[in-house]
């Protein structure tokens, strides 16, 4: 049957193509872009959360404005930590 033979060769070609793609395309580009988009908000979110925590603690302990200042800086540090961690994750994928 010529049809079946034709199908077999086509299957072989398709399989080898898939193998090639798998080897060359191990790291997919979609997740790269996802991680890159993640960086900006990651930094801002930690600063916001730190400042909010500082504000809440300030109203609790009546120490305005000291804790909000301290927690703003701690929040910034946490934001940078987040960014460094995400960047490391991108490098690991590389």
């Amino acid at each position: 049957m010529p049809d079946l033979k034709d199908f077999k060769t086509r299957l072989k070609i398709a399989n080898s193509k898939i193998k090639k793609n798998l080897q060359s395309n191990n790291s997919n580009n979609g997740s790269f872009m996802g991680f890159a988009l993640k960086l900006g908000t990651e930094l801002v979110a930690a600063v916001v959360v730190g400042t909010i925590i500082g504000f809440i603690l300030d109203t609790w302990f009546d120490t305005k404005p000291w804790l909000i200042i301290i927690f703003f800086f701690i929040g910034s540090a946490a934001g940078m930590l987040n960014v460094i961690r995400t960047a490391k994750r991108i490098q690991e994928k590389d």
């Binding site: 979609g30 997740s31 930690a46 916001v48 959360v49 927690f71 946490a78």
Partner: protein, 244 residues
């Protein structure tokens, strides 16, 4: 009214007002579009899994692609231990994706452009991941906040930083999705307004921009759903395998 670019985000009541224990539970346009997205997902997956052919039909192919995509993502980012959470991540991804995509249709409403929707999703994920972490590791899960190899003098400061970093997860997760969707849709509307106000002479340039931006927005709609799902996987990975 029509020229206000923020008008598209207004939520209004459809049908009668329903109040239970002082809380407004009326059916709004936001609820309508959530129902539309959810039923679209159900319809596609129902039609896709009805006939199981070896050579798939188009709709079967679509649902199989979705399945493979999420299954691959989970096994790559969170490992085999995360397999039991597949249904949750799959429905999360599909819901966000379809809400974004339905929002791209003219005259529709984008549910994910409201922070309350995305924040609630993110807080639910945050609480679920924390509970999973404590169930799997007991109080050992708190080791996440105390990295090893840190001098004792710096330990309190590092712990506070780690806790803030952990608490910032739901904020960054929800703000990213909400801000991207809202900014994109506002921009589309603003450029649409330019086309009208510049008229037949100068309106062609913003029209071209509008077309290009629509393409970009469809990419963003998919990408944000993907990022939302993959970050859930990463957080799940932290909770299951207990390392950064």
């Amino acid at each position: 009214m029509a020229t206000n670019p923020m008008h598209q985000f207004s939520v209004y009541r459809l049908g009668p007002e329903i109040k239970i224990a002082g809380i407004d539970l009326s059916f709004t346009n936001a609820s309508l579009f959530m129902v539309i997205s959810a039923s679209l997902i159900c319809l596609i997956l129902f039609l896709g899994t009805k006939e199981k052919n070896i050579v798939p039909s188009k709709i079967q192919l679509i649902s199989e692609i979705f399945y493979n995509f999420i299954a691959k993502m989970i096994s790559e980012t969170a490992g085999s231990k995360a397999k039991p959470y597949f249904p949750f991540i799959f429905s999360l991804f599909m819901f966000v994706l379809f809400c974004n995509m339905v929002g791209m249709l003219p005259y529709s409403f984008t549910v994910t452009s409201h922070i309350i929707v995305t924040l609630l999703l993110a807080i639910f994920i945050f609480i679920a991941v924390t509970v999973i972490g404590f169930v799997k590791h007991g109080f050992g899960y708190l080791k996440l906040f105390v990295p090893s190899g840190v001098p004792t003098l710096l330990l309190p400061l590092i712990t506070v930083i780690e806790i803030i970093s952990y608490l910032s997860r739901p904020v960054s997760l929800s703000v990213r999705l909400f801000a991207n969707m809202m900014a994109g849709h506002t921009m589309l509307k603003v450029f649409g307004g330019f086309v009208i106000s510049l008229g037949l002479l100068g309106g062609w340039l913003p029209l071209g921009f509008s077309v290009a931006l629509t393409g970009l927005e469809i990419l963003v709609a998919f990408l944000q759903a993907y990022v939302f799902a993959i970050l859930t996987c990463i957080y799940l990975n932290d909770a299951l395998n207990l390392h950064h």
